[in-house]
């Protein structure tokens, strides 16, 4: 396998982008990534997109984006893995380069979720769960994570205050991110007093509905210096895993086994352990998700994720900074783009370009992106060369 580096990144401000179409927000991010990489062409591209069909009535996203990026006739593939689509797109690009099949590959993600009303968006998101055996019986996406939260509380004594601490920390980081949808701080009291969505998750325990895109350019490490004057960042570990789609099928619904498996694959490939990670972006679609993920990644002991979240150890100046970008919670969660944007935040951190969010001496970074209630998971480990 060839070594693979990220040489270009592109992202714009996320939020309610009424004045732009799906193709425009993707092409803007892709052009930025191509310019950042300093390449004059790309050989292939992958576009993460969860549900263009339900959100904007558009499928066939690969060809559409290649068309409007002006790169036809290169191969362009749309990748769907629910909310993990953007992370899986990066993995596909990695594989294509590592295999020797292509040299310069663009991986990105895009979702435009605000063209439909909240009810329709809820239905579209719920297609990531088991339609016949979960959604049909009345459970919503926040409902699935709320059931994880209740079980975690019962088993380990996790509290609503600990959940709220995740939102507080991520909004504090998001305030420092110029691309964040909600760049403001919240307090524990504000989280606990916000509208209850699905007990025990309040509105401010949930990530928002967002329009946004993100893109990265990858190439073989050995030719990276030909294109960019910037610090190339090597992808040293990649892992992807699956689990039972329906939450109720899993022996322990409060343990994200696919995340653990994906992380272990990535750790093994990179020859790293959780202690080696300097900065990490995780999939905090709900506050409880970040708590379960830091356990599955090995940053916290099983059952101790809530205590760790509330201890300050995952803050920017903590022992393992988590979601310096503001996470899905404050940066926003355009489902198909999220996984790619996580890679962008880590590249910025490793390049030393993260501004006020910069983690000192960050040399090894990690991303964790998941789909549904954790049935798909993908992790990347990135390092300064």
């Amino acid at each position: 396998m060839r070594d693979v580096a990220v040489i270009g990144i592109g992202i714009n401000k996320w939020g309610e982008l009424w004045e732009k179409s799906l193709r425009e927000i993707f092409v803007e991010a892709a052009l930025k990534a191509i310019e950042d990489a300093g390449v004059d062409h790309i050989d292939s591209m992958y576009v993460g997109n969860m549900s263009g069909g339900l959100f904007v009535g558009q499928e066939h996203i690969g060809a559409l984006m290649a068309d409007y990026l002006g790169v036809t006739p290169i191969p362009a593939t749309r990748v769907e893995s629910a909310c993990a689509s953007g992370g899986v797109a990066v993995r596909q690009a990695f594989i294509e380069i590592a295999s020797g099949m292509s040299d310069i590959v663009l991986a990105g993600g895009v979702e435009k979720m605000l063209d439909v009303d909240t009810g329709e968006a809820t239905l579209a998101l719920a297609t990531a769960a088991d339609q016949e055996y979960e959604v049909y019986n009345g459970v919503t996406f926040p409902g699935l994570y709320a059931m994880i939260a209740h079980l975690h509380m019962q088993k380990y004594g996790t509290t609503s205050e600990q959940l709220a601490a995740v939102a507080v920390k991520n909004h504090r980081n998001g305030k420092l991110n110029p691309n964040a949808q909600f760049p403001f701080e919240v307090t524990v009291d504000q989280v606990l007093n916000s509208t209850m969505i699905c007990d025990p998750l309040h509105l401010l325990d949930c990530s928002p509905i967002t329009d946004g895109a993100a893109a990265v350019v990858l190439c073989p490490l050995e030719i990276a210096s030909k294109f960019t004057g910037k610090q190339p960042v090597k992808i040293t570990g990649v892992g992807q895993a699956t689990d039972f789609l329906a939450l109720h099928q899993r022996k322990d619904p409060s343990w994200l086994e696919a995340v653990e498996k994906a992380a272990n694959t990535a750790y093994k490939m990179a020859d790293k352990t959780p202690k080696d990670i300097d900065v990490c972006e995780v999939h905090d679609c709900f506050t409880i998700a970040e708590i379960c993920v830091i356990e599955a990644l090995g940053f916290a002991e099983k059952g101790k994720g809530g205590y760790m979240a509330a201890s300050g150890r995952t803050a920017i100046d903590g022992e393992i900074p988590v979601n310096t970008s503001g996470g899905l919670k404050a940066k926003g969660h355009p489902v198909g783009a999220t996984g790619t944007a996580q890679v962008i935040e880590i590249v910025e951190q490793l390049r030393g370009e993260a501004g006020d969010r910069q983690v000192k001496n960050a040399r090894v970074g990690m991303t964790q992106n998941m789909g549904g209630s954790g049935a798909s998971a993908v992790c990347h480990i990135l390092e300064v060369v």
């Binding site: 329709e120 055996y133 939450l247 109720h248």
Partner: protein, 130 residues
């Protein structure tokens, strides 16, 4: 948006509550699977599932999709039946606040939702306090 539920009414396990037992591992699956994820065996026997069980975890849904908006707040739970099979189901016939982890429940055949005033009625299972 209408659900594809109108087609699913033809699927036997939805109304008959049929599962399968892997003859090799003894594990029970609902809905039926064509291959056992543990032993990769395709040798199953059809069984009727237990109707008694208890709540593994739950939530109270307060913001619901359109077809359930009239029901909020309502409780939904993961229920483990006495034979080990697990399902997700609404908890009916009690106040959502009464629902607790480990609460004994049983399955009943109920109306799940209706596609508008004169639309098709979708049936299925809900759980009630046992």
């Amino acid at each position: 948006m209408t659900t594809p539920a109108r087609y699913w009414r033809e699927i036997p396990q939805r109304y008959r509550y049929e599962g399968v037992k892997c003859k090799k591992s003894g594990q029970i699956f609902f809905p039926p699977r064509l291959i056992c994820p543990e032993h990769k065996s395709d040798d199953f026997e059809k069984i009727n599932l237990e109707t008694q069980g208890k709540i593994v975890t739950y939530t109270v849904v307060r913001v619901a999709p359109p077809q359930f908006r009239d029901l909020v707040p309502y409780a939904v739970a993961i229920v483990e039946l006495n034979d080990g099979a697990r399902i997700t189901a609404m908890i009916a016939d009690c106040e959502p606040e009464e629902v607790k982890i480990d609460m004994p429940v049983r399955i009943e055949f109920r109306k799940i939702h209706q596609e508008g005033e004169a639309g098709i009625i979708c049936y299925g299972y809900k759980c009630v306090p046992a």
